[in-house]
């Protein structure tokens, strides 16, 4: 009787691992392995590194925001990276948004408020394409969830540019060679080099550090609930384990007189 039970558990384990390793993936260069990084938000007890998140926001604001929108985020969400209400108000006020119509029926611009969504760099996709040689810089709100590998992929992509393509590969007009991008030819120029930003907290802005920080920030932007989810999950699992152990004891007790 134990035998079919074991077999089936084995089979179940096999499917799960198969699903994990073999399901065909989304945009990622064929045959390259992503370096796995030790993110602070990995694992059952993982949380975001606040300093890294805030530096990452600085990178987004100073570098990426000129091309990429982050339209699922509102300024008020920045409380999630540890910014105070006043800081958020100040950040929002740096951006202009269109509002209206006013009493006279005219649209007008005003400084953004914490409740506004992040202002986008372009009015629409066509404007974004025109400014980028026909390539569309995608919205980054869910980027960390929309690519296999998540933050690992983002870090690898942002540091995976090659000065010159390998022999035998000719790049199309306006394209760069990137080891990790699907098809290896990417329309986005390497967005930063060493010291591209000057961190307010004095952290040395190496290329690797910048990539780590922006990846952390984007991982949070895609899963702002991550910390709460894991915290609650630990409690739920502990509760269930105790409850199940008790149910097992009761089951033994109830069935005792039968055996």
């Amino acid at each position: 009787m134990m035998n079919p039970m074991k077999n089936a558990l084995l089979a179940l384990g096999l499917t799960l691992s198969m699903a994990l390793t073999l399901s065909a993936g989304s945009a990622l260069a064929e045959g390259v392995k992503l370096p796995e990084r030790d993110w602070s938000f990995n694992g059952m007890f993982g949380t975001f590194d606040r300093g890294s998140q805030q530096r990452g926001f600085q990178v987004y604001k100073e570098v990426c925001a000129s091309c990429h929108s982050l339209r699922l985020l509102a300024y008020r969400n920045l409380a999630g990276i540890g910014m105070s209400a006043d800081q958020i108000k100040a950040v929002a006020a740096e951006f202009e948004v269109t509002d209206g119509p006013n009493a006279e029926g005219a649209m007008y611009t005003r400084p953004a408020r914490p409740s506004d969504r992040f202002a986008a760099p372009f009015a629409n996709d066509n404007a974004a394409r025109t400014a980028n040689n026909g390539a569309l810089p995608p919205d980054l709100s869910l980027m960390a969830k929309a690519r296999k590998g998540g933050a690992d992929y983002l870090h690898a992509l942002l540091t995976g540019y090659k000065e010159a393509p390998p022999e035998g590969v000719t790049l199309s007009e306006g394209m760069q060679y990137n080891t990790y991008f699907a098809g290896n030819q990417i329309a986005m120029a390497a967005p930063f080099a060493d010291s591209a930003v000057e961190y307010a907290d004095g952290t040395k802005a190496t290329k690797d550090q910048i990539a780590t920080d922006i990846s952390t920030f984007l991982a949070w932007a895609a899963e702002p609930e991550l910390e709460e989810r894991k915290r609650l999950g630990i409690k739920v699992l502990l509760f269930l384990i105790v409850l199940t152990a008790m149910l097992y004891a009761v089951k033994r007790q109830v069935w005792k007189d039968l055996h």
Partner: protein, 419 residues
């Protein structure tokens, strides 16, 4: 339920007018006799029922914040994730609940195949089960379209396009299904409507399933009939507590995914909003459809039947063939425990299903150690059908089964001799 309970005047008053308490007692209480030797494989049916309930409850609450419109669906799901209180929890429970439901029901079905639960007098019970899986598949397929991500859109495109394989009227059927000339807002709206309706149809089917179950009671690991009261124990408290313990184990497994790997069963591409102009490099369905997807793509052009039509026939046939199982299997012995050959072949069949799932996850053009996936898919598809059409009928006639015990009670009181 104790007699004391039925002596309570309020209970008596209600019971006289509507015998609901004795109905409950005879369905899942002390008045329902159950074989005393059921093992843990008999937990999966009630677990599936609980997960179905969880799916319906979370689904109804999700629908309160979801907008079935091509311009807003994707954003409304993200609003649920970000702005609705515990919306992320609701959505992750619903998403992973779908996968749990299929895991449980697939195990439940393999259980039935191993212990011969589909045999006389439980044929209708089994056939209702087959309709339940079909309804589950339709529900899950349409539910996956609702978040309007890239896989939602392209998965729906691939699957609905299959109907164009029907001779002559195929294209008209597809236009009719879509409510237009492409997958668009009308399609999304009707899918939402059906996704809300079908779970209640499943619920009704489960009710009929249980009605049939309660006529001849559960089968059991020995596959011998209940001969008398000495073979049974009351459902309550014995199986209520056993089912609750099983539920605890399931919940630990289920909640692990919900809280720590919520997107494990999903595809990253579904976090990209649907774009009719950009085809994803690999279109894959959810994991529980992978074996059927492999069967769909395995069939070549045969004579005047196009590969597409043949694939569709094979795919639906692979499920519908289960309806015939009670008559394909001629063996008088139910449980595989007493069928040495069938028992081996059962496990070969299980492995074949896993191979099909693996093939379904890969592009047919891909190769595995020099062997094209297409060939692996064709071989395992052929084996799938051969299992039902040749292996089961032949083995059931040729195999010499071992002698099952006289009765459940005889085997249980004489432990060791049976298993």
């Amino acid at each position: 339920m104790s007699n004391k309970f039925f002596e309570n005047p309020v209970i008596k008053w209600v019971e006289y007018r509507l015998p609901i308490f004795s109905f409950i007692d005879e369905s899942v209480g002390s008045g329902y006799p159950t074989p005393k030797n059921l093992n843990y494989w008999w937990n999966f049916g009630s677990l599936a029922g609980i997960v179905l309930t969880i799916l319906i409850v979370t689904g109804i609450v999700l629908a309160m914040s979801y907008t079935p419109h091509v311009d807003y669906a994707f954003e409304s799901v993200e609003r649920i994730m970000r702005d609705v209180n515990y919306g992320w929890l609701l959505r992750y429970i619903h998403m992973n609940g779908g996968s749990m439901f299929f895991i449980l029901v697939y195990i439940h079905m393999f259980r039935g195949m191993y212990y011969g639960s589909y045999k006389e007098p439980r044929e209708l019970l089994w056939i209702i089960g087959v309709f339940i899986v079909l309804a589950m598949m339709a529900t899950a397929f349409m539910g996956y379209v609702l978040p309007w991500g890239q896989m939602s859109f392209w998965g729906a495109t691939v699957i609905t396009n299959l109907f164009s394989a029907v001779p002559i009227i195929g294209d008209s059927i597809v236009t009719w299904l879509w409510g237009g000339f492409s997958i668009d807002n009308p399609t999304l709206n009707r899918f939402f409507s059906f996704h809300y309706l079908l779970p209640f149809v499943i619920f009704a089917l489960v009710f009929v399933h249980l009605w049939a179950l309660h006529v001849h009671k559960s089968n059991n690991p020995l596959g011998v009939d209940i001969k008398g009261p000495e073979d049974t124990i009351p459902f309550h408290p014995y199986y209520t507590i056993k089912d609750l313990y099983g539920l605890g184990i399931l919940m630990i497994f289920f909640m692990f995914f919900v809280f720590f790997a919520p997107n494990f069963f999903g595809e990253p591409d579904n976090y990209i909003k649907a774009d009719p102009l950009v085809t994803p490099p690999h279109i894959v369905p959810e994991w529980y459809f992978l074996p059927f997807y492999a069967i769909l793509r395995a069939v070549p052009d045969i004579w005047f039947i196009s590969a597409k039509l043949g694939g569709v026939i094979a795919m639906f046939g692979s499920i519908l063939i289960l309806i015939l199982l009670p008559w394909l299997d001629r063996s008088p012995v139910r449980s595989a425990r007493f069928r040495p050959i069938y028992r081996q072949l059962f496990w070969v069949f299980v492995v074949d299903c896993f191979i099909l799932g693996w093939v379904g996850a890969n592009s047919p053009d891909a190769v595995f150690h020099g062997i094209p996936f297409l060939w692996i898919g064709q071989a395992s598809t052929a084996y799938y059908f051969a299992h039902f059409l040749f292996i089961i009928p032949l083995v059931s006639i040729l195999e010499k089964p071992k002698m099952p015990p006289e009765s459940i009670n005889a085997a249980v009181t004489n432990k060791g001799a049976a298993s």
